[in-house]
């Protein structure tokens, strides 16, 4: 198969390696080094998609990141990715792509009827039309819009590709490897600075790959290759291609997305698909170049109309002719450069120049080559539907208002150059206030806000000689500041053709009687008429015009449309462009894969997983795990076909009857030491701590300054100035920070040290009437009798040679102990307990049984200490000292906190003693009351009481103190349940707390 539009020898592609690929199901081939765009153009394919709103045929407009049209659905290695720019996607063997935005096919698109209905689809159409009636939105309008619009389709499968993040620090980060990037990198590298040079394209060199210039007696391309080769050998330099710096954030941090594998048929083993670099740079050099801007004319979106620089790039880099009968439409000398390339390769172009009498070296060369040039001429409209067939052209008056007689010339492509727009996105993102540069009709960076410098075309400097000079100097100067080295680098001679001034002309007037669409934003189908409507309807701010018309809001972010839009607004509003101002540039500069942003933090890696030292024992014994914060805890230990309900009931019953053991390693533990430790506790907890004797534990509640309960737990006095504090699993980290806050900032005079020991201790709670017998067997040398180790007592013991801490504390409400050993002995302890416990019918119990035990005892936990309750609400007011001050005490005087009918924890039992009450149910007085039914309280925790064999719940209820005995309804609209209930005491089992003291 021959490629009709491929030249024989031109370009940087590898003609020895043919690659086959499919587009819309049809097979083609290209070469190694092609992009999907260049390979399609080589095969004469110009129709690649349909436009967003009118479904007009669309082709290729650019050759890189600025491409507004050629967005495809890519298929690679059994995966699919939407919205890939064909101009950026490198070709690989077996690549498959499809058009987006068209149905049933790109050649015949039903949505194109919108094109004929376009008078009904003006700016703001969606806002106006779909507003009414409101009820139509979800059922009719939204589905319709979604079907008609939309770009590609995201895969619904799990992404098998791997993405990674990398953090890097450097002296100079250089964005773009064109002439300014290369020279500043080189000068800085020679001074020993740590340099990162990033290029978004596969090839380094930027404009030097396509411009006919000579640097140091070599072609620009060869010079660039030499510099890159040398930079690559330097240990202080990192050069990265396929790497887009897309965001400039605070304090000189930039983010770069490196496409590691997209150019390959399949990601290599152990390689990521993309790598996201977070780079903190001392200095940033922005050498991102410029993007050619279009001239606006009728039907300027027809496939075959493209930027003249893109045509040149396809020719010089890929050896591809975008047409064989090209028409060049320009307002500056760049169009001539493209024309010269065509002419040199055997294709005769026609140049239309809007200027009257331009003169320059480039124009002279074009003339000497015999190129047909028409001055004061413009393209009025492209003709042709799926491809340019001809152009209506006309002469134009000096004031650019009057068109001459319209002629039609045959052509197969129209290459447009409306001069250049500096890529100021990164500079603007850094906070740089941009300024309008009259000579180039575009914005350039103004005063730097961060450590950033913009060089070359990105700074509006289009002379290569000047660019090289300033870039070498800047690279040297900035690196000298950092490294203190000052190595002179000789600036090479530059031979470039001088160009003449461009024409301040950007939009061709409509000829009388014609109503051509003249597009500004090609991806979002925003035409000149849409902006006119927006302004007519009173939108003035450019930010409003943008949102109303969606100008510049497509995935290309208006790289080719923003300035022309501004020109139009300024012309109609009769303001100068700088007065109109531009819209805000926000990262990312170009769309970035969500996968790259997420990196490796997916699935189970989305948070750390912490496991207790006994985890493998739990696994071996059929534990079913539950996430408790970052910890994995056994929820219950499954026996046979048992479900959660039966299993946890069995475990809880066994605790009440015999003895059970629960892994409590996850509880937060804080070691507190120092002569003022007791004073600290006394200020942090609501109860009194100064008189706690050595060898005793005490339960405490701590508040936030606003009076809300922060956490609870027991703290034990290990020795004179040494305490062991426990916190809930969830609040462990917050409590430590809380203590550090007061010790470091509020009461620095307190001589206390705190440190987290959560991971240093493994903990086992042994609970049940037989727990003392078990404990005695575990510690035969210790006296663990009720006298030797009373309730809230503490002692140290010897567990078969391992030092252990024994606390007589209880969460289950049973006679219970907690044994701690150093983490490494955790499993040893656990197995010992299970072995010795066998004769007492010990069973391990999980968090579900643990909850059941505490709920029926009326012990409050996280579901009651929910960040909204005060001590009174939790029936903990007895622990609030009246004598001393403590954190949050003053807040307890707030009138709402002392109200007579203040909410309070109560017990709730269903009247039928059968129906479990869903957690979160609302308690109401009248189940038939009209909605919203006044809420009296909510169910905070529910269980099946193993003591009474019926459901039991805790609730936080308004005026709970006086509600005991009342009959209410628990309503759960979520579960569609209305349950008649009775309010009882929260202490459902053992209300006097005798068991723990037995």
């Amino acid at each position: 198969m021959s490629q009709d539009f491929r030249l024989d020898s031109v370009g940087l592609i590898n003609r020895d390696k043919k690659l086959s690929f499919k587009f819309n199901g049809k097979k083609y081939f290209g070469y190694e080094g092609d992009t999907l765009a260049s390979a399609l153009l080589a095969n004469g394919v110009h129709l690649v998609g349909r436009s967003f709103k009118y479904h007009r045929p669309r082709g290729f407009f650019g050759a890189g990141v600025d491409e507004p049209y050629a967005i495809v659905q890519l298929y690679r290695n059994n995966e699919t990715e939407p919205n890939i720019k064909a101009t950026e996607q490198e070709l690989f063997e077996g690549l498959e792509a499809k058009s987006v935005n068209c149905w049933p096919s790109v050649n015949f698109d039903i949505g194109a009827i919108n094109n004929f209905l376009k008078i009904f689809l003006p700016a703001g159409f969606y806002y106006k039309t779909f507003m009414w009636p409101k009820s139509f939105w979800y059922r009719i309008y939204e589905p319709f819009i979604r079907k008609a619009a939309g770009l590609g389709v995201a895969s619904t499968k799990h992404d098998k590709e791997r993405y990674e993040h990398k953090y890097e620090y450097c002296d100079l980060l250089i964005a773009g490897s064109g002439p300014s990037g290369l020279s500043s990198a080189y000068a800085a590298a020679k001074n020993g600075a740590k340099v990162i040079l990033a290029e978004d394209k596969p090839r380094f060199g930027g404009s030097l790959l396509t411009d006919e210039v000579n640097i140091g007696n070599q072609s620009g391309k060869d010079w660039a290759e030499g510099i890159i080769a040398e930079l690559k050998t330097m240990p202080n330099v990192v050069v990265k291609n396929r790497s887009q710096i897309f965001g400039y954030y605070d304090h000189n941090m930039l983010v770069m997305s490196e496409k590691v594998s997209d150019h390959l048929p399949k990601t290599k083993k152990y390689h990521p698909n993309k790598r996201l670099w977070y780079i903190r740079a001392k200095e940033v050099l922005i050498s991102s170049g410029s993007i050619e801007r279009p001239i606006v004319f009728g039907n300027n979106d027809t496939p075959g109309v493209m930027l003249s620089s893109a045509a040149k790039e396809y020719l010089k880099v890929y050896g591809v002719l975008v047409g064989k009968n090209p028409l060049i439409f320009t307002n500056n000398d760049s169009g001539y450069e493209t024309a010269i390339e065509f002419q040199k390769h055997g294709v005769q172009p026609t140049v239309l120049d809007s200027r009257k009498n331009p003169e320059s070296e480039i124009i002279d060369e074009a003339k000497s080559l015999g190129i047909n040039i028409k001055n004061s001429y413009v393209v009025v409209a492209a003709q042709g539907y799926k491809k340019v067939k001809s152009a209506d052209v006309a002469s134009i008056s000096d004031d650019k208002k009057q068109l001459g007689k319209i002629e039609n010339i045959k052509c197969d492509c129209i290459c447009v150059s409306g001069f250049w727009t500096p890529s100021i996105h990164l500079a603007s993102q850094s906070g740089n206030k941009t300024k309008f540069k009259e000579e180039i009709d575009a914005f350039v960076p103004g005063t730097s806000k961060q450590q950033e410098t913009t060089l070359g075309a990105a700074n509006g400097v289009f002379s290569l000689e000047e660019t090289l000079k300033t870039s070498f100097e800047k690279g040297r100067e900035l690196s000298k500041k950092i490294t203190d080295n000052d190595n002179e680098v000789s600036i090479p001679n530059v031979v470039e053709k001088k160009s003449s001034k461009h024409d301040k002309f950007w939009c061709v007037p409509l000829p009388a009687g014609k109503n051509y669409k003249r597009f500004l934003d090609f991806q979002n189908d925003v035409a000149v008429s849409d902006i006119e409507i927006a302004l007519r309807e009173g939108y003035r701010s450019i930010e409003h015009v943008k949102r109303y018309t969606t100008l510049g809001m497509a995935t290309d972010q208006g790289k080719t449309s923003n300035l022309n839009g501004l020109q139009l607004v300024s012309e109609i509003e009769n303001k100068v462009v700088p007065a109109v101002g531009h819209t805000t540039f926000r990262p990312p500069y170009t769309p970035i894969s969500i996968g790259a942003i997420v990196g490796r933090e997916v699935g189970k890696h989305s948070k750390p997983t912490r496991k207790s030292p006994m985890h493998s024992w739990h696994e071996k014994n059929n534990a079913v795990f539950v996430d408790a914060g970052v910890w994995l805890r056994p929820r219950y230990y499954k026996r046979g076909n048992e479900n959660l309900f039966d299993g946890s009931k069995r475990e809880a019953k066994n605790v009440r009857k015999n003895v059970g053991v629960c892994d409590v390693t996850t509880l937060g533990k804080i070691d507190i030491k120092g002569p003022d430790a007791a004073e600290l506790l006394n200020r942090v907890y609501t109860n009194a701590w100064l008189k706690l004797p050595v060898g005793k534990a005490r339960y405490g509640v701590m508040l936030r300054e606003d009076g809300i309960v922060m956490d609870d737990g027991t703290t034990t006095r290990i020795s004179e100035n040494h305490y062991h504090m426990t916190t809930t699993t969830a609040q462990a980290a917050n409590v430590l920070s809380h203590l550090e806050y007061y010790l470091q900032l509020v009461w620095p005079e307190l001589n206390v040290n705190v440190v987290s020991t959560t991971e240093q201790w493994a903990g086992a709670a042994i609970a049940g009437p037989k727990s003392r017998d078990l404990l005695q067997k575990l510690f035969p040398n210790s006296d663990v009798s009720n006298e030797g180790l009373p309730f809230m007592g503490y002692m140290e013991g010897d567990l078969s040679g391992v030092e252990a801490r024994i606390f007589r504390i209880s969460f289950s409400g049973e006679l219970a102990y907690e044994v701690n050993v150093e983490s490494d002995y955790g499993n040893f302890m656990w197995e010992k307990i299970m072995e010795v416990g066998k004769e007492f019918n010990i069973q391990p119990y999980g968090t579900e049984a643990l909850s059941t035990l505490r709920i029926e005892m009326g012990h409050v936990a996280g579901s009651e200490l929910d960040g909204r309750t005060i001590p009174y609400d939790n029936a903990l007011e007895g622990l609030v000292s009246k004598k001393k001050d403590f954190i949050g005490k003053r807040s307890l005087q707030r009138s709402a906190f002392t109200a007579e009918d203040r909410q309070r924890v109560v017990g709730v039992v269903p009247l039928d003693k059968q129906t479990s009450i869903p957690e979160g149910s609302h308690l109401v007085k009248d189940d038939k009351a009209p909605l919203p039914n006044p809420k009296l309280g909510h169910i905070s925790a529910s269980c099946w009481s193993v003591e009474y064999d019926n459901p039991f719940s805790l609730a936080i209820l308004k005026d709970g103190k006086n509600m005991i005995g009342q009959k209410l309804f628990a309503m759960s609209p979520l579960k569609n349940k209305i349950i008649p209930v009775e309010i009882v005491s929260s202490h459902y089992v053992d209300p006097k707390g005798e068991r723990v003291r037995s």
Binding site: N252, Q744, D885, Q893
Partner: protein, 89 residues
């Protein structure tokens, strides 16, 4: 992402820190009678400043020290950082 100079550890990225609010707020002394208004001002009322703001940060994933940071809330510029016990000039 901010780049914060911990006075104990040096320049560290923001992810190592947690924010702790206005550093100019002084906790009323313990056991002191104070009005509702004073207490409300301490617990709740904060100026949402635009511009220079002295604030607390904790170097959570580092030395765990609470530090004071003088930062511009509009531009994120950090002027100076102080140890917890350092007088702010």
């Amino acid at each position: 992402m901010l780049y914060i100079k911990c006075p104990h550890c040096g320049m560290r990225p923001q992810i190592e820190f947690s924010y702790g609010g206005d550093a100019s707020v002084k906790r009323p002394e313990l056991n002191k009678e104070i009005s509702d208004q004073e207490w409300d001002d301490f617990v709740y009322n904060r100026k949402s400043l635009r511009g220079k703001h002295l604030e607390l940060w904790q170097h959570l994933s580092g030395c765990r020290q609470w530090i004071k940071v003088e930062r511009d809330t509009a531009t994120h510029e950090i002027f100076k950082t102080f140890k917890a016990n350092e007088e702010v000039a």
